[in-house]
Subunit: 443 residues, 2 copies
């Protein structure tokens, strides 16, 4: 109880995490997330290299298919006007491939926006954690200053006023000691002060990288969309030069698709390893970066019944000391004010300070409790391991679809284009009439 | 400070909120969200009715266009084989319209998933708030029971043991009074106990409705996708009956699209009014439903410096009483244990109880602080007013695109179909060869 419903690895994470991994010598590599180890890096590189293999195979397939098409069919007489029997099939398969590419582009846009959502959830969680951490520091500083100010001014005035009666001065001195003790205890609570790691900086770095990743994908998707549309236009207008240019562009986009597929696959596999059990890695990394003690970090990262609040002792002592100051001030008010009326003003001011400090203390207790920061941690993990991973898988599907569609188009386009009737060069500029699709040749 | 970065209305909310509203007598209606007022309901119904007007206009336009096409062109001799000059244009415009429809479907899928994301964010925020509220009740119950148990057993034992010395019995009685006071103060903190509104129930209701909304949209999108694909297939295979069936289906989907557009527009306008200033409406509604005092509700819904913690007084009193019990127990330990060794066991047990209670008290302070619940409120608002509204606008764009595409297709389909060559009925079943698109008639 107390801990918010946390992050649980999704089915995709389990599935990807169970895939076998191997290093360059094809020895199996354990699938725990260890980006600093060479074998693990090699395993990820090998996953990316699979996409390179796919690219090579599909290029070889296209080349063999086209060479077979150019060289192995019986030569037609140049003046022949009979349509090749597979002509309709070729153009239709090209259109179907381009439509599949367009569906892939839609999926890609969706996946890109999902990934971007997930990463922005991660950086907003980091910003929120930064807000909480700096609020703790700020609040502690404010409380310590307020107590110090009260000790310097009101308590000193009070001691001067009460000087004639030593037992009252002793009570005031007791309150001063307690206030100084509270200030010292509080200073120990600002645990993030002087820590070299800034979640704000991490969030900004993440957002910066994500911005360029998003933009690169949008450009790739737009490029592929333009290639699809202009290829369709070229087929419709039977414009040879447009189809040739688009064939070359398709080849370029095919290479880019396989390249992005490699990156996505390696990232998805690495992310699944991270997400299947993120706590130990994050704990270790944060401990290395911040130098904070492991009981503080596991309190925030685990936030369950098994981990006790590492600030409990300090908080209880501060709270008791504040209550003691309060009862001492009440005693002084009862004893001293009838005899020394000038003691009333500093006493009231001290009680006011104490009330504000107690209010701030409750806020500090709320800020220090693991719920808030652990919720941010959970939100960051959910953003990264659910939305971003799902988006990555959609992007992977896009890359697969577009690689398939472009390979099919690259096989069909030269054949469709070989079927175009020759035309005089001036027709290129005069805007030839749209061909009539779907209408029978005899009509 | 202390309040997490909250919700801010987006540009879309401002834009939609500024649109003029009118009731059925076309008198202007203020754009504040007031779903219980008749004028406001009329204004939303009028927005939905605009879609009905659009549907009527587009049906009239299609009818006029088709009647003009059927009746006003010069009758062709039935044996004529010359193609109509606009034939290619008609089929191409049909294809372009269907492609635009497919793009609209992609946008629709995206919008549907965005809306679903937003609503699931809302219900997960409600679930989280429910978790916090029930954790508060549970914790208070646990602390009160623990204190009551300590008062009944250990303090009674202690009083019996210390009976010979009345001043020690008085100190123990003081501790008992304080413990009872703390228990009473704590009971006042379980503010959600007995409240008839359950966020869990609301979240379940919202998820239930959203599930069906999501499913309805997916079915509509799939229906439109099937209509687009089968129409393209009908055009490609020149199957008259398929094109006729698809023309009728297109008409059905056109009506559904305009209908959904009306619902989306009215919902988007209503939602923008809600989202432009949600706090007063939510505050009033929650106050009506729960009967909680407005200072508690505004503390959680606003959670800024201007609203003080309504539990501050109770928390401070409980905290001071706990500290007093502690010092009384310390005093008893010092005074009584040398004389009555059998007092040590209940005293140690009491201190243990006190330590646990102080730990729980810090957790209670954290749970009661507005940060957690206000963050849930902000997440719910962001889900509803950012993701869900954005998704709704994408769905609106889908409806617009598909209404336009289907109207164009409905204008073109009968013309394209009139151009199909007549064929013998047996060809319908024998699967005619794919026509050769994009290849010139003369080839």
């Amino acid at each position: 109880m107390g801990a918010p419903p946390g992050y649980r690895p999704s089915a995709w994470v389990h599935l990807l995490h169970q895939l076998p991994r191997a290093d360059f010598q094809l020895r199996p590599v354990p699938s725990g997330f260890a980006p600093q180890e060479q074998e693990y890096q090699q395993a990820l590189l090998l996953v990316a290299a699979l996409a390179g293999l796919g690219l090579g195979l599909s290029l070889i397939f296209i080349a063999v298919y086209l060479i077979r098409f150019c060289c192995c069919r019986p030569p037609e007489p140049p003046g022949s006007k009979t349509p090749s029997p597979g002509g309709g099939c070729v153009t239709w398969s090209c259109i179907v491939a381009l439509l599949a590419g367009c569906i892939g582009i839609g999926i890609g846009f969706y996946g890109n926006s999902e990934t971007s959502d997930g990463v922005s959830q991660l950086s907003s969680a980091l910003l929120h954690a930064n807000h909480t951490l700096s609020a703790i520091d700020h609040l502690v500083l404010e409380m310590v200053e307020r107590l110090g100010e009260a000790v310097r001014t009101e308590l000193t005035t009070l001691e001067e006023v009460l000087e004639p009666r030593t037992e009252l001065v002793a009570a005031a001195r007791g309150a001063r000691r307690q206030a100084e003790a509270v200030a010292q205890q509080l200073q120990g609570l600002a645990f993030w002060q002087g820590v070299p790691l800034s979640p704000l900086q991490v969030a900004e770095d993440v957002s910066f990288v994500e911005e360029y990743r998003w933009l690169a994908y949008v450009l790739l998707l737009l490029l592929e969309l333009l290639v699809c549309l202009f290829t369709l236009l070229g087929l419709a207008k039977q414009s040879k030069w447009l189809v040739i240019v688009m064939t070359v562009m398709s080849l370029l986009v095919l290479v880019l698709s396989w390249g992005s597929m490699g990156l996505e696959a390696a990232t998805a596999v690495g992310l699944s390893d991270f997400c299947s059990n993120p706590d130990p890695y994050v704990l270790n990394l944060t401990q290395e970066e911040t130098g904070l003690s492991s009981d503080i970090l596991s309190y925030y990262f685990l936030c369950n019944q098994a981990v006790s609040n590492p600030f409990q002792q300090r908080l209880t002592l501060s709270q008791r000391a504040l209550a003691n100051i309060h009862s001492q001030l009440l005693g002084l008010e009862r004893e001293a004010v009838p005899q020394f009326p000038s003691a009333q003003k500093p006493l009231l001011s001290l009680e006011e300070t104490l009330n504000v400090t107690e209010g701030n203390f409750h806020q500090l207790v709320a800020l220090l409790h693991c719920r808030g920061l652990h919720k941010d941690y959970g939100a960051a993990l959910r953003g990264l391991c659910e939305d971003a991973l799902e988006g990555l898988l959609f992007l992977l599907l896009f890359s697969l679809l577009s690689a398939g569609a472009l390979a099919t188009a690259l096989c069909s386009l030269p054949r469709a284009w070989a079927l175009f009737p020759p035309r005089n060069p001036s027709a290129l500029c005069s805007g030839s009439r749209l061909s009539e699709p779907l209408l029978p040749a005899g009509l």
